[in-house]
Symmetry: D2
Subunit: 491 residues, 4 copies
């Protein structure tokens, strides 16, 4: 017997992954819009597995909503749920539970949020994070607003309720001008589908054409593919589109700001078949592997991905280095992503059951493992244990992102800074702590090149938000600073 039940797999926590918090989707102009939204959310499930919600509008039956814990496929495929969501206009949301409360009452935190105003109802779904939500919430409560959830996103709907504008689109603008942070918002009134991205365009949002009559908004293009919609274009940073009938009206409600799209969407969050900036995410990730092989070559017998997120970079690394690509670690396909469940015990169980080493293949080999990122380092350590226990001669880690040394405040769940391995150790110290023969991260410049910025990162005007690597936050995290978070000292 090689291992006690419970070790070494039982502590594969998710500290080595950052987690996207949300995906949003909306459809207008097609019958049974909620069914399309369900399909779109299913395609966006990797952005949030804990819960999902859909709101639809039908002229006869008004606004209806359904919110459920669990996967889209387990909830929004059932006739008894979908039949309650009639109409040609619907929006939806999938979420991972980080900000909101947990436990018995948390269904209240599942979006979309709905509000009834004197000129009619509106629903709103939000991907991102508001950096001044705590201050806004306090102010709203003092003025008589009653919050129904612990979600900061609810501020938007209360700000809308208190706007003096007489149409809902204008109220959304009013509300979003008051909030700070990163957001891609999909909203709906009785007749309009609305999409907005914050001025920096931190989170993605794309527009698609559904048949001749309809339109869709989706966090990623893979959400358009699943319903057979045509990808039209990305919503631009700072842009608001209001779709009604066959018209898409574009406005720019915010003060212009430099574009700072989240570079971690390229590394890990987005699906490999999505298109970002005109390129396949898969191709960008493969290119990261190519850059990594150039920057940090090593002599070995096999290049193996840590499945599944390390796969494209491992393919690129193999192609650049000439070292054969192999499936050295097999993922049990009956699990979802490791970080699905929010409670500690299930998460542990999840990881213990997730991966197996291809023992007969690995034995006696020098193995390069390619993973997307290192967060706490605990998973890396356990994977190394698995590989060595199976008889590998050498283990080399190559990481498809720079060291993650700073928390994200823009809609990604990260541990506090002191728990990030790279915040407290050098690369060599990390290598020794994980216990591998070598450990190399791609450089920030290499990552920019792989993402299509041939010149690498311009420190004066970086093209992406890379705060988790650089500590340079494009939007001041004011709530967090009020709580005591210390920004990187200016150099």
């Amino acid at each position: 017997m090689r291992a006690q039940l419970g070790t070494p797999f039982d502590a594969f926590d998710d500290g080595d992954k950052l987690k996207e918090e949300c995906g949003v989707f909306g459809v207008i102009g097609v019958a049974d819009a909620a069914n399309f939204v369900a399909l779109g959310l299913h395609a966006l499930q990797h952005r949030g597995q804990e819960a999902g919600g859909i709101v639809s509008y039908d002229p006869v039956q008004g606004f209806n909503s359904a919110r459920r814990f669990g996967y889209v496929r387990d909830n929004f495929t059932k006739a008894d749920v979908m039949s309650t969501l009639p109409g040609e206009l619907a929006i939806g949301h999938v979420r991972y539970s980080t900000a909101g409360s947990k436990g018995a009452t948390a269904i209240r935190d599942v979006q979309p949020f709905f509000g009834e105003f004197s000129m009619g109802g509106a629903a709103i779904a939000h991907n991102g994070n508001l950096t001044n939500a705590a201050a806004l919430r306090k102010e709203l409560i003092e003025r008589g607003s009653i919050f129904q959830s612990s979600s900061d996103s609810e501020c938007i709907i209360h700000l809308m309720a208190r706007s003096i504008q007489t149409n809902i689109s204008e109220r959304i603008k009013d509300a979003l001008r008051r909030v700070e942070g990163a957001f891609s918002v999909v909203a709906m009134t009785r007749t309009k589908l609305i999409g907005v991205r914050d001025a920096h365009g931190v989170r993605p949002l794309v527009l698609g054409r559904v048949g001749d009559s309809g339109w869709a908004l989706s966090s990623e293009t893979c959400g358009l593919d699943i319903i057979g919609a045509e990808f039209v274009r990305e919503i631009e940073p700072g842009e608001m589109v209001v779709i009604e009938g066959n018209k898409v009206l574009s406005t720019r409600p915010f003060t212009p700001a430099p574009s700072r799209f989240c570079i971690f969407e390229q590394v890990y969050f987005s699906r490999p078949d999505s298109i970002l900036g005109g390129r396949s995410v898969y191709e960008t990730r493969r290119q990261i592997g190519v850059e990594l092989a150039k920057e940090s070559p090593v002599d070995a017998d096999l290049v193996c991905p840590v499945p599944d997120s390390g796969t494209p970079a491992a393919i690129g690394f193999s192609q650049e280095s000439g070292i054969p690509y192999a499936m050295g670690i097999i993922r049990n396909q009956y699990m979802g992503r490791t970080f699905i469940e929010p409670t500690e015990s299930i998460r542990n169980m999840g990881v213990r059951l997730k991966l197996n080493v291809n023992r007969a293949l690995i034995k006696g080999k020098r193995v390069i493992l390619v993973d997307d990122s290192v967060v706490r380092g605990t998973t890396s350590r356990k994977i190394k244990d698995m590989i060595l226990e199976a008889g590998a001669a050498e283990v080399h880690f190559r990481i498809a992102s720079p060291p993650t040394a700073w928390p994200c405040f823009y809609g990604v769940d990260t541990p506090e800074r002191s728990k990030l391995l790279a915040a407290t150790m050098t690369e060599d110290e990390m290598r020794d702590w994980i216990g591998v023969d070598s450990l190399k991260f791609i450089s920030l410049d290499g990552l920019y090149r792989a993402a299509g910025v041939e010149a690498g990162r311009d420190p004066k005007a970086p093209k992406f938000c890379d705060a988790c690597f650089s500590g340079e936050y494009p939007i001041t995290p004011s709530d967090k600073i009020a709580e005591g978070f210390e920004m990187k000292a200016a150099e």
Copy 2:
């Protein structure tokens, strides 16, 4: 808009896959044996996703059982289920529903089956198929046996009940000598764990050591890995092992017969990280890709697997041909295998939601698609549609198994012969029907070589059961012949 909702994905049926019907697992000599069985069954879930069952024995609480529809992870991880299964001895079963009845009463068909005999109780779980079950069942009913299920495997327990032997192991021998067909059986009494393979050894079964005190039996070695058990050896064709305390007693109850292990286990059924005949299944599959590239090369830009089962052969094809490997089709990881659900409507839904083309990557490329097999050909046709619709310049199919022209009667779910594409068409006709630029299957000799038989297939004494390709059935399917099935004419 490129496609109507519902097309082209909505008819991706499972006709292009053969389905393994079962996995079996047993553990003796460790506390909470049922928990180990649950983990083992989880690792064997690919062998049967419809339902699972566990029986355990505890000296105080006697035999207990739990049988559930759905995944192991959804049922046998819950405290309220597992707490009802105490003891240091347990066996389990996962199944795909083909032979038994479907619908409301089918839980009766979920194994293990349990019988109470005058000398005590016994439970039995069976992977394979009995080719004389219909005749046996008729005879048993006439003699007063009452069948509780529609499963043919229940014959075994009734034959045991009528045996005049005074201990259960002998009764199992008596019963299994009466049945014909392919079987790997795991059984238990109050004190013994028992494993048996039919004389030809068609279905796999392996023995593992659990810590210092326990033993495990599993359909595949991946079931041992998940619980940290050490792989000891395969149970041999025609062997029966009776494990009690620390002793493993081996006997040979059946007339010796040539070994004819199912070659489709190598091609598709077994997990790539399992070990068969001393080799990684992954490696055998990669080698199939190598042989295929040698036999049927073609000029192209990308080699793409049809995920996930085509992946190892695609890697081998790329390595042999030098054409870059790429993930041209992305599988939604929140689905299981396509053939999970037994009802038509859900199966259709399953496939529509399962795959997406990496459009930005495929556009304008000449693509080689590597898949494991073609059964009805319907899925291949739809995948081709998807790839062309995404703008591929050429589509070439390479299949990691020979044409599937004959049904399996040994525990695999296959359509009737007339529905098998290769039973009615030549390779060229299939290519035209599917509508691709080229279509090539690996030769039977090539497959044998990849599986380690360097000399290729010896028509006088083939090392494997390859009836689905060759029409040569090592065990006469007597029930089927009685129903009118026509064997291949002798040449």
Copy 3:
């Protein structure tokens, strides 16, 4: 065969019963207060069977709530629910769904409602009906409040949120001074349990002592009995009690008004073992039967109640008349009250399965049936059919309330006026329409006498609210008048 399946029972609708809408309960000063609330709500289940909710407060875990459709016994007895409701302070609510929306989203309408204010949270549960809620709601939405439910009671919590008072008790006063209508309210802050009755005291509310340290508020005394609490006194019309620690502080926040307790609580709503005005409700109802026998005697063989609500009056009728009491109609005890479920189809099913005639007893007899009320008359007609079909020689109806000719706007679900049998027919016409040998209602004076007002009803200053019989509404139903309801013309 005497009847087709489906007739004559299948249309036993509930038009012949008025339905109480709510019961409220609260406890302070005992460990696991929510368990006591669950017991109290179970005892008050007759006041609302559709749904229930409990909010509790614990210094460590804050406010928690659980809201469920269905019976208290099916939801608030489970460990997984009750363990989420810790603390020594809790309030709860049971409801019948009349005002709020129905269907998928209606769980939002289940009370208690909770609001977080700048000085802390508060929860509130309401029995009764606000007659100016529509106007208030419109005004609040215009000022930026977001309603989460379709329940008019939610107005109270929004009025509280907008109050400028700095403690919650004062905010409750502010809010309740703005509302019109009938209400008994139970509310809680982090430290206080609060009870209020409207100025007329239309709905009941009583105070109880729980052990040495705790207090309870309950709609009826039967809620105190179940937890072994001592009945202290009724909360008085217009009184507000604020309970903190061992102190009960009483104030009178509203303009004084004459007491007008709902007389239908005496006739039907309250449980027979509750105490109202110092007397057992059972005794009052028995006395109604005595008065009825004096007012409208008839020669017959048996006096039978329409179970179960007609039972006490039938006993009284039998005792006064000397005609033997008998159980001529048997209620299936596995059903609840007929009007449990809010959807038409289930309600119909409910009634078809509910009652059976004691055929062998009834055959050839002259039967007096005593029922509590006649609303639409449809049930009476079907009961008459049942009795005659069983062979009764004569059927005489005696009704323990006067003709119900006006809708209630104070927390009781009544059909619109045109559907009330007594609004459109004389007593003789009703007798003929129902098809019985005689039909007599108790007089309003007789009812007052039975309820302890020896002098009968004083038209100038009636002691009770009897609007449903008299059309004299003590509180102007302003929302309804705005919708077009016509009050009785002044005489």
Copy 4:
């Protein structure tokens, strides 16, 4: 505060009630027969609340079954269950769990049992108890039968399977001639509905006409009433009826024996609206109260039933004695019978929540409480506590059955003899132990008179089975004697 939560109500166990174990129902010759069976079982729910099952037969879909824990109304009213039970022929069963196993596997014990024989399938449902089942089971297992349940009733189906008769009706006769005990059996083949009562006719079974084309068999006439069927006649002791098409064939397969119908059906088990021996059960029970008042008069203010089973006898007692009848104890109508749930903790909870004293009525009064029986005496003691705590001046118990001093072995769940209060105490000792002012049981002669045997009980040839009172067992309980049970010594 009068009582701690948990006392005195929390130990109201069910030791004071005997429990009927089963009800059976069958229908032939009407569309959707299973719906009629569901209604019939609902009317028979008082005979068994733990679980229910229905088997139906349809020429196209064959035999189908559904078995569920819980009430009929909660399971067999749902479309997804009922749609799986097509056909014009169906039988069903409700049960209380006493003999069979409990816990996770017990659904196997829920009847009807089904067997497939060489000449076709058959299903069988059994009310009663076989007194030689243990011996039969042992013999059958030795001969190779495999039992699927722990229910003794399964012997019948195995005996049928081993019969050499060539039609199923004859096989049923064969099987029932081998069993000893009390039984009313309803069975079905593909074309026939079959009913049988044991030679003594211990358990009830009646025949009804359903419309022009159909027939029904039911444990009681109330099952016929609910579906509008006409009561034709009782099946006679020792009679077997085979119903096919429009014909009812009657035979007498057993050695004739004196009729010994269970007298406790009259006292407690049967529903008051059922007809037994041509009389309403209600009327017999009322007459018991009359006899009791003659035998054991006492001066008092009120006669109160212990609800609900004591009600008819209390009415009779009041009518004979002239002491006013009153509802002194109110049952919470949202509970079922106390003995619903088989686990101790829920049972306790059940009783605590069940009854409340009508305090304002009882205070200062001398109260006669009429109950149906005393088993362990524990409930009586707690009811006395409740009544005294509410201020009653005197408490007198009058019991509508003789002292229960012997266990029943014919299908009723009774405690072992040592736990029966009357087996260890005289009437005076019981009075003191319970702690009431007087306690009187009806005499056995009085009970016979009330049941229509004017001459009282003939000790040489009693008309009823009264073993629980007299210790005279008409059928030898051979399994129990083998286990050590001592019969009453011959006098």
